[in-house]
Each structure stands twice: as structure tokens, then as C-alpha cells.
Symmetry: C2
Subunit: 426 residues, 2 copies
């Protein structure tokens, strides 16, 4: 599908043309609005969209590294001129008057903040929203950043902002066939994002071209890191995270295929053996989310009687998490983060599945985050490359991962990989 | 000074009377407003105060565990009906339309959200604001939660909300002679607080009576923990944190006096020897704040040219923090947090200074946080007991600390300690 969207609608091409004077931001916006008119009725990616708000920004003649670049913002991220609804009745139509820091930075760079995109409730459940997968309207786009992934995949925005606490950015990227990037924890401000887990919540990004992520890495001031220019001689590890038994055959085949393709391109590819300590990470992730979610949703539970049972249970500590459990979970996470730093220092990057398989049928659930939570709790950057097509014709992504702060290395290796990795998996 | 404020203006007494029908919330508010009229012109604790906003809440007849309790909110914490100015020109008079989670929870409990209180800029500098110490107008109240500490000390609100990233809650509590509580990291939502450091930012609380903190512990759903009813036989450690050479003689004497007083009351008091690893914690705190602050203030630096040099330097990474530095700092913090869990498990509580000494003269600077950052980075709960008076007649607090999630134990031990600890230090 992304092949059907003109390359001149990528962020880097838009910014190049608007800054060069060969296109106006308004022309870009009008072309985008034509796509929205065609696709939004079936994809339903947007939680809020008022064409006048976008038009006013485009008409103002934006300048900067993202001049004229259209951005859709997950509806748990605050925007000063659009409501932030969190897919929750209490916040429907509710404005905040202040941009989230990540949005503020994009505005300063000349971006056009176009729309709010559908999220699962508070970005903290796997209950699907209204959004459909642009590649097959009967399938979930993944979640919780459902709308941003689907909108970028359908060409309705150049860039999508999402969040990830478990697998909420990378899994939808895989399901929708777009580039996804969960940066290192803490390098892009989370101010103005609905809070679920301080330890895990991370801004996520979507684009249809890796070059757009390189632009965003500059705008968001990511740390310098080596950017290899060839796969030849790169040390690439292949990771099969805990919960590997949940990965379906097509994704296993995709990972094997990617490994072989990277090796053929000259990379030194080897399977990574994980220390036994990592086996405890998934349970630690669950414990930390339950404990932090209990604090995060307390005010919602106190303010109203109709909060969904998912959140009421978290606030009531239905899982029975004790202080001892919490201390032990943080200790596991801390230990594994240090181990991951050491392990990943031995590779230029590692690869792993971006999801368990193709997007499942149905919109009730957003799919299985088992291949994502592991990396989220480790704080490391993950870039999902939209490389493969599964047996149902749906996209499947491969994640490229490095140690903390080496996001630019992950982006570079992902870009090199995209040139040789991919294909149709039977 | 707190002895001059009637006990019936504590939170627990207000809530008892309003719920019992013996006082109206409006009566409480009017009595509070009389104090404000008398003291605010000299103390200057408030960044925003509109008596009509408070009056509307009191007239509505609040019910709940904090019915009628007046609360002043540090001006980096979002309030739906008052601006949140951050002591920064860009945000002056700027509303958010949504309460911070911690404020929302207080409203649901019946509290009257009275005012916004002065903060240092973005709660992230030691440049003083306009607020004066109610005990000596020529001295700083401490910071960054300057206004909330001073307002509670002067009787202008029953409860004050602050934040702590280094020593921004506990130090002002010590300087202003009020109870201060920095809860365990993560147990009270930080949503709606200006972001500086995800790793360290914590909501802080002020009151004039320990009973008020016990009420707040219920309202904020703190974890159950042992609550001893006698000092007899309690194991109390005495900690002299790294940077001890910055502690002035009066505070050293106060700590020694407190130790002796606790021992006389039957506690088993012993000096704690800190593992050598803890010596690296202060530098790790600095590195983490520089790295996280760089991300936190990026949007401010991009949006305008007149940002204070403090923040410009942080965004420009003037400190030259490398990814390796950051990884090492997090590793140190993680290691020490696990060590602290183990160490503190051996005591019912430990005590330490709440500041280096009395509040310094002058309003330019808010004082030295060296006795606070250590505990902040360890994520542990700290309760400052307003126990001593120094040679200049200024208050000095002693901190009671436990391991993570044992806030209720820290509160109980602090309450028991307050009965036997204190006095005038020559």
C-alpha cells in the first residue's frame, strides 16, 4: 500500500520542497486532505479532525526542518488547539490549552499538527477502537496507537505520534506496514502524554520512510551514535525473546529469512543467547504496570463511577501486588537493563520480531504485545522495518534494536537492512 | 509560629468538623482568608489567588475525607480553574483546563483548591522567587516549592502541594518549620506536574500536623505497612549521607540530639555505615538530571529565544554528558536502590538531616539540597519532622526514612519521634 502513496508525501520530501519553495505547505495539506477524504470513511483513524485548524497552520507559511509536514497525534497526547479525549467519556471534547512537549517541538520545527488519532482507552487496554487496518478493513491495526499507525499507512499524514508502554507503537507499525520507532526511554519528553507507567511509557513515531526518522532524530536532538554505511562486517545478533512460543510460524520464518538476507549482504549474523535472568522480565513488566497503573488511574476511579473494570481492578490492586513484589520487579528490570547494555555492546544491532505474526482478524482486540514489552522495559530503542508480507497478504515488521542512546545506529542499520531484507512469507 | 495557628485549622480537624456538621467549609475558608489577608503581603507565597474560585468550592458544600480542607498548589502543577505559570513568562496566566491527577484526587476527596504557590522557574533552578520565609522575612523559605511551604507555615492553607527532584520539598519543610513528606517514587501520580526528571520528580506534601499526612496517605492510597505504636525497641539507624562535610554544626548537633532522644525513649539507635557505592550517587543524580533535563526543556528552548541560560545550557548539553555517562549513572542509581532496599530492611526507620542547616539569609538562592538528592534518587519515602530550632531561631527538620513503599511506617515513626525529639540548638 505504501508503494501507492507518492514519495513526495514523505516528511523529508515535503520539508525539502516547502523550504525550497517548490511546493507550498497548503498544497501539501490539500493533497493530504484528498487522501483523507478518500480513506478516512473506511479506515476511521481520527479521533478529531477539523480541516480549518490544519489549514490555518499551512496558510501561516511554516518554516523549519519539518516545514509543512503533516502530523497526526495519538489522542492521549495534549494539543493546545484540539481536544484530547483519551477514548474516555470524561475527556471527550476536553481541551488542555497547552501542547505536549513533543508536539511543541514539532510546531517549532514547522510541522502542521493535523489531527488527533484513535487510541485504545487511556492507551492502557487491548480493547480495540474504531480504527481498521488499511490493508484489510476486517483486521485490527494493532494498538494502542491504532489511529496514528493506520493514518500514516493510508497516506493521511506523513508522521504519526504514538506511545508505547508494552507494544503500542511497534506492533501497530508491524500490522500496518509502516516504519515504527520507539526511542530510548527518556530521550524525548513524555510531558503531556497520558500517564500509565513512568518506567515504560515512551513516545513512539510512525513514518513511511526511514529518512523521516532521521529528520525527527535531529529535531528531537537524539544523541550522536555511529551510523554505519554498509552492512558488510556489521555484527548483527538475532534475538528470540522469552515468550517465543507465542510467535507464529510466518514471523519465525520472516526472522530466519531476514537473518539469511543480512548474512548474504555481508553482515556477521549470530543467534544471541539470553541470560536466564531475562526470563523474569515479562512478569516484572506486568508487576510494574499493575503497580504504576494503580497510581496512574486512582484519580479517574475516584472522580467517577463508570470507569471501565480494567482500570477499577488496577486501582483496587486486584492483582494483589505487594511492596515486596514491586521492589523485586524493579530490581529485575534494573538488573536486566544493565545486562542488556553489556550484551548489546557486543553487536552493532540485534534483530527480533516486531509482533507475533500478521494482524489478527477482528477489531475487538489489538493483538499480542509479547514481542515488545521485553524491549520496552529495557529502555532500548527499537525501529520496526516494514519488510515482509505474510501468508494473508498482511505486513510484518522486523525490529532493529541497539543499546540505550544509540537510536541513530538503530536507524542506520534499519535503513541498510531495508534494502536487503524482506519479501513474501508463505 | 505553627503554635500560633489554631489546631482546628489542620486538615484532619477541618475534615472532622465539616463532615460532622460543626463547621461549614465556608467558615474554614473565611478564617483562612483572614490569615491570608494578614500574612500574604509580607510572605508572598502565592503565584495566583482568586478568592472567588475558592469560595465557589466552599459554597458547594464539599464532602469526603478532606471536606473543606484548603490546599495550595505549587505553580508547576496543573489546575483546571487557575493558570499554571511555572514562574516562566511563556506560561504566565496560561490555563490547562485539566487538573493534575494529584489535584483531581484531592477534589474528589472534598478539598478546596485555594491557590497556586510560588515555585522557582520550572521547579528546576535554585534561583529564588519572591516568597519569604515566614519565620524571618529576610531569609529564603527554600525551594523550589517555596510558596507551598511558606503558605502552610504561615497558616494560609492547611495542605501544600510541592514537588521534589533534588531537595525541593524536604528542604523548604525544614527551613519553614512544617511537616514535609516526599512519598516513595511512583506511588502518587506525577501526571500534570511540569517535567524535569522522570527518574527523580516526585509529588511532595506539606502540613502542620502529622495527622494530616495520615489522612493524605489514605486519600492517595498508599501501601499498607507496619505502623509501630511505640519507640520502645524500634531499630533506628542514623545516616550521615555523602556530602556530610556540607552539614553545618547546628544540624550536626540536632542529629546527635535526636539520636540521643530516641535512644532515651527506648529505641535501639545505631549509626549506619554506608557501602562505598553510595558515594557515587550524588554525581549520578547530577548526570541523570542533566540528561533528563536536556530532553525536558528542549521544547522550551526551541519555542523561544529568551529562555534562561540555566535551561539553554542543559538543552545544549553544556555539561557534555555522553551516552556512556548516562548509562553508568543509571546503573549506579539502580545498584544503590537495590542496596538501599537491603540496608533499610534492617531498620524500622533511619534518620538524617532534612537540610544542611537553618535557612540562609537572602532570597536570591534557595539553599543547599545536598542532604536530599541522595534519598530522592533512591526513590525512598522521606518525612521531615519540624523538631528543632537553630541558633538564629530558625526551624530545622529531621528526616525519617524507610525503604520504598513503607511510607506509612515512616509517617508512624515520624509521629512517635516528634513527641520526644526536638528543642533549641545553641
Amino acid at each position: 500500500m505504501k508503494d501507492l502513496i507518492p514519495e513526495d508525501m514523505t516528511a523529508w520530501a515535503i520539508a525539502r520542497d516547502v523550504n525550497g519553495g517548490t511546493r507550498r505547505a497548503l498544497d501539501v495539506l490539500e493533497a493530504t486532505q484528498a487522501v483523507i477524504a478518500a480513506r478516512e470513511p473506511e479506515v476511521q483513524a481520527f479521533a478529531f479532525y477539523d480541516p480549518r485548524i490544519a489549514r490555518a497552520q499551512a496558510e501561516a507559511g511554516p518554516i523549519g526542518p519539518l516545514a509543512g509536514v503533516t502530523v497526526t497525534v495519538k489522542d492521549v497526547i495534549a494539543t493546545r488547539d484540539m481536544p484530547t479525549g483519551h477514548n474516555n467519556a470524561r475527556y471527550a471534547g476536553q481541551g488542555t490549552g497547552v501542547d505536549a512537549a513533543c508536539v511543541d517541538t514539532l510546531r517549532s520545527a514547522g510541522a502542521v499538527i493535523l489531527s488527533k488519532s484513535v487510541t485504545t482507552e487511556f492507551a492502557a487496554t487491548d480493547r480495540g477502537g474504531k480504527t481498521r487496518n488499511p490493508h484489510d478493513l476486517a483486521r485490527t491495526p494493532g494498538g494502542s496507537s491504532s489511529g496514528s499507525a493506520a493514518a500514516v499507512a493510508a497516506g493521511m499524514a506523513a508522521i504519526g505520534l504514538g506511545t508505547q508502554t508494552g507494544g503500542s507503537t511497534i506492533r501497530p507499525a508491524s500490522f500496518c506496514g509502516v516504519w515504527g520507532w520507539k526511542p530510548t526511554w527518556g530521550v524525548i519528553s513524555r510531558e503531556g502524554l497520558k500517564l500509565y507507567s513512568l518506567t515504560c511509557d515512551t513516545l513512539g513515531l510512525y513514518a513511511r520512510d526511514l529518512g523521516d526518522f532521521n529528520l525527527l532524530a535531529d529535531v528531537y536532538d537524539l544523541d550522536p551514535a555511529p551510523r554505519p554505511s554498509s552492512l558488510s562486517g556489521l555484527r548483527i545478533g538475532v534475538v528470540r525473546p522469552p515468550l517465543w512460543d507465542r510467535v507464529e510460524a510466518p514471523m519465525r520464518n520472516a526472522l530466519d529469512t531476514a537473518s539469511a538476507q543480512l548474512a548474504s549482504a555481508g553482515a556477521v549474523v549470530e543467534d544471541v543467547t539470553l541470560h536466564d535472568d531475562f526470563a523474569a522480565l515479562d512478569a516484572a513488566h506486568g508487576t510494574i504496570l499493575m503497580r504504576e497503573g494503580r497510581a496512574a488511574f486512582l484519580n479517574e476511579a475516584r472522580a467517577r463511577d463508570d470507569l471501565h473494570a480494567d482500570f477499577v481492578a488496577m486501582v483496587a490492586n486486584a492483582a494483589g501486588i505487594t511492596p515486596e513484589d514491586a521492589r523485586a520487579a524493579y530490581r529485575t528490570a534494573d538488573l536486566c537493563r544493565a545486562r542488556a547494555d553489556d550484551l548489546l555492546a557486543g553487536y552493532d544491532a540485534v534483530i527480533a520480531p516486531s509482533a507475533c505474526g500478521e494482524a489478527p482478524r477482528g477489531l475487538d482486540k489489538t493483538g499480542d504485545p509479547s514481542m515488545n514489552s521485553f524491549w520496552t522495559l529495557l529502555s532500548v530503542p527499537v525501529v520496526s522495518v516494514p519488510a515482509f508480507t505474510g501468508p494473508s497478504g498482511m505486513p510484518m515488521g522486523i525490529s532493529v534494536i541497539t543499546r540505550r542512546y544509540a537510536d541513530r545506529t538503530a536507524l542506520a542499520v534499519a535503513g541498510l537492512s531495508a534494502k536487503v531484507v524482506g519479501g513474501a512469507i508463505a
